[in-house]
């Protein structure tokens, strides 16, 4: 069983933390990841920095810029994933990337390197199902889950098509818009989770806008198997620029607070 499937088999709901590789610097980024893991992130989404992140709001866009200014390349991202894998051998790791990073490297090489570095899944934010045959065979060849995205605007027919090629878990986008913290999650969330639940046995995780413990509760109450938190954590890196100890403390505190929104959950029996 893959690490992703194993995680959801023994634990639900789970907490998924997002970070941009190389933010605020390449070495510091490893320490950010370790702090998130220590604080109880069950799965890490690691973004490959990209200069034109159109699906992201201002907080995460600035993280991409910081990482690129620090000189982070795709090679650095794979090296970072390898070191995180060394630190947390059982933790599922998902690469979050824009497609041109993969296109430029060539999909076969990208997925080979992702697998070799210890990544379990790849989520391509700007590759809809219409274009996904460009990567599907390579993801399969290298044993990498392709994490599918479903938006509130996705029609039932499209949901079906998307789910037919999905593996690992399904990323449900909570709202119409880019990533970023919001005061409230949209009221239709439970309906979206329920509609997708009827079409797939894969675990469902909800992201975009999830930034407070009460949002986490809402997501769990909607029936999701996981919550994904990005901007609320990335913002702490920006706010504590130059104070790494304070940054790590803030990340640990934020994750502990957000985790309280998950239903009381027994200690995982990790073999």
């Amino acid at each position: 069983m893959s690490r992703i499937a194993g995680l959801f088999a023994r634990k639900s709901p789970v907490f998924i933390g997002f970070t941009v590789a190389g933010d605020p610097g390449i070495e510091a980024s490893l320490r950010v990841a370790k702090a998130m893991i220590d604080a109880g992130a069950d799965l890490l989404e690691i973004a490959v920095p990209y200069a034109d992140p159109v699906a992201d709001g201002p907080v995460i866009e600035r993280a991409h810029v910081r990482a690129l200014r620090a000189g982070t390349t795709a090679d650095d991202v794979f090296a970072l994933v390898r070191r995180i894998r060394g630190y947390a051998p059982a933790l599922p790791l998902v690469l979050f990337t824009y497609y041109n990073i993969i296109h430029r490297r060539g999909p076969d090489r990208f997925f080979a390197e992702a697998a070799a570095s210890g990544a379990d899944g790849v989520l391509i934010v700007d590759l809809p199902v219409e274009e996904s045959d460009e990567v599907a065979p390579y993801a399969a060849r290298h044993g990498i889950d392709r994490i599918a995205l479903i938006a509130p605007t996705t029609s039932p027919e499209r949901q079906h098509t998307i789910l037919s090629g999905a593996s690992g878990f399904v990323y449900l986008i909570s709202l119409e818009g880019v990533t970023g913290e919001r005061d409230h999650l949209p009221p239709g969330l439970a309906g979206l989770v329920g509609a997708v639940r009827e079409k797939t046995g894969l675990p469902l995780a909800v992201g975009f806008g999830v930034s407070r413990p009460e949002h986490v509760q809402t997501v769990v109450a909607a029936g999701a198997n996981g919550v994904i938190v990005g901007s609320a954590l990335v913002r702490l890196i920006e706010e504590h620029a130059g104070d790494e100890a304070g940054m790590q403390d803030a990340l640990r505190a934020a994750i502990a607070t957000l985790r309280r929104g998950l239903v009381p959950d027994p200690e995982p029996d990790i073999p």
């Binding site: 200069a51 034109d52 430029r104 605007t153 119409e176 880019v178």
Partner: protein, 390 residues
């Protein structure tokens, strides 16, 4: 070939949230292009409001100097001062047919923003224009023009603060406001169906040119030249000639020279990549990050190009050449003096290439240059570059 593809190029590389809007746009476009009421209204706006058809001007002075027959397709005389209005009137009218209540647009030189503001004012739709903060300073007059026309200009301070970042910002707005908003993309770039919609609305340039040159000369031209940034004026004039025995030349921004790395020539010096929703040629680094570009013409200062141009390059049907800032500035002055027509710096790139290409034509050779915009917006900049003396 998959739908929305030009050879291998094009496609829809966008976040899932946008797919429903692209599907709706494609369905609407298929419907309105068959709708006689839409055609009737668009023809009225193009004729009575925008001033079509535009003249195809025989340049007697330049023709004498160059030793061939030079014509200019006068999109500079279109209302607003550039070809951009052909597309914005078409898309704004389409937005009305879709029941949208708000237009958003990106702009580089400001010409597309102005043309969107004009179309929005004429059709009663509020307009917000995203513009890189650097460009708002380079093209301050167009910012004022847009505001005068009732549009709100939003300076974009992310990334390189130029056109590509304005497109990113507009896409982010669109993804958050899909129900009420139409994103009025200004060039033949981006995800399907935009490249096709923009090409179709701009093809009026080539259709008129074809008819006008046949009336005037009794035959098709030898060469048609147009500048290429995103490529909308070029695809507009080329498309009706693609099946003919006519040489087509697209002229890119050579900036300070292709070897300098400071240019905007994605077809001449780029490689294949995905950018802002489409597979095309792209100026990018080894990891696939778009490179910073440079051109004296803000409207050509962009790292990528429309996917149909990528196909036309590979097939060899269109030749793409680069012209430097210096050559464009020379052509800017020369056309102003010899013909009394001040071209936009973008269009001056096409004029500059025509000055070169004329050598290959004999005295009966016919050269058509798409004069895509007028240069009033650039006069202050050029004066500053040359200490006030053109």
């Amino acid at each position: 070939m998959k739908p929305g593809r030009y050879g291998i190029y094009g496609g829809q590389y966008v976040p899932e949230t946008l797919m429903s809007a692209l599907i709706e746009l494609e369905e609407t476009y298929e419907r309105v292009r068959e709708d006689p009421e839409f055609s009737r209204r668009l023809s009225w706006y193009l004729r009575e409001y925008a001033g079509r058809e535009t003249p195809l001007t025989y340049c007697s002075n330049l023709s004498r100097d160059l030793g061939c027959r030079v014509y200019l397709k006068r999109e500079d005389l279109l209302h607003g001062g550039a070809h951009k209005l052909n597309n914005t009137l078409g898309q704004a009218l389409m937005a009305k047919f879709m029941g949208k209540r708000r237009l958003i647009a990106e702009t580089g030189a400001g010409q597309h923003g102005v043309a969107t503001a004009i179309a929005g004012a004429a059709l009663g739709l509020p307009v917000e224009v995203y513009m890189g903060e650097v460009d708002t300073r380079r093209q301050a007059l167009n910012v004022f023009r847009m505001e005068l026309l009732g549009a709100r200009v939003v300076p974009v301070v992310s990334g390189t603060r130029t056109l590509k970042d304005a497109i990113n910002a507009a896409m982010r707005d669109w993804v958050a406001n899909l129900g009420e908003t139409h994103y009025l993309l200004g060039s033949c770039v981006g995800p399907h169906p935009f490249p096709r919609i923009v090409r179709d609305f701009q093809s009026v340039i080539g259709e008129e040119t074809r008819r006008q040159i046949l009336e005037r000369e009794g035959r098709l031209p030898d060469t048609v030249v147009a500048c290429v940034g995103g490529g909308s004026n070029a695809i507009g004039i080329f498309y009706p000639f693609v099946g003919d025995d006519v040489a087509l030349v697209g002229v890119e921004a050579g900036g300070e020279g292709l070897d300098s790395g400071r240019h905007g020539a994605s077809l001449s010096a780029g490689s294949v990549g995905v950018f802002q929703g489409a597979l095309s040629y792209l100026l990018q680094d080894g990891d696939g990050q778009a490179l910073e570009t440079h051109s004296v013409a803000a409207g050509l200062d962009h790292p990528s190009v429309g996917p149909e141009h990528a196909m036309l390059k590979d097939s060899g049907r269109v030749r793409y050449e680069a012209v430097t800032d210096a050559e464009a500035l020379h052509a800017f002055r020369r056309l102003s003096r010899t013909e009394g027509i001040i071209p936009a710096l973008e269009s001056a790139h096409a004029v500059a290439y025509a000055l070169r290409a004329a050598d290959d034509l004999d005295k009966d050779g016919i050269l058509v240059v798409n004069l895509s915009g007028r240069g009033d917006k650039d006069v202050a900049d050029v004066a500053n570059l040359h200490g006030g003396v053109a």
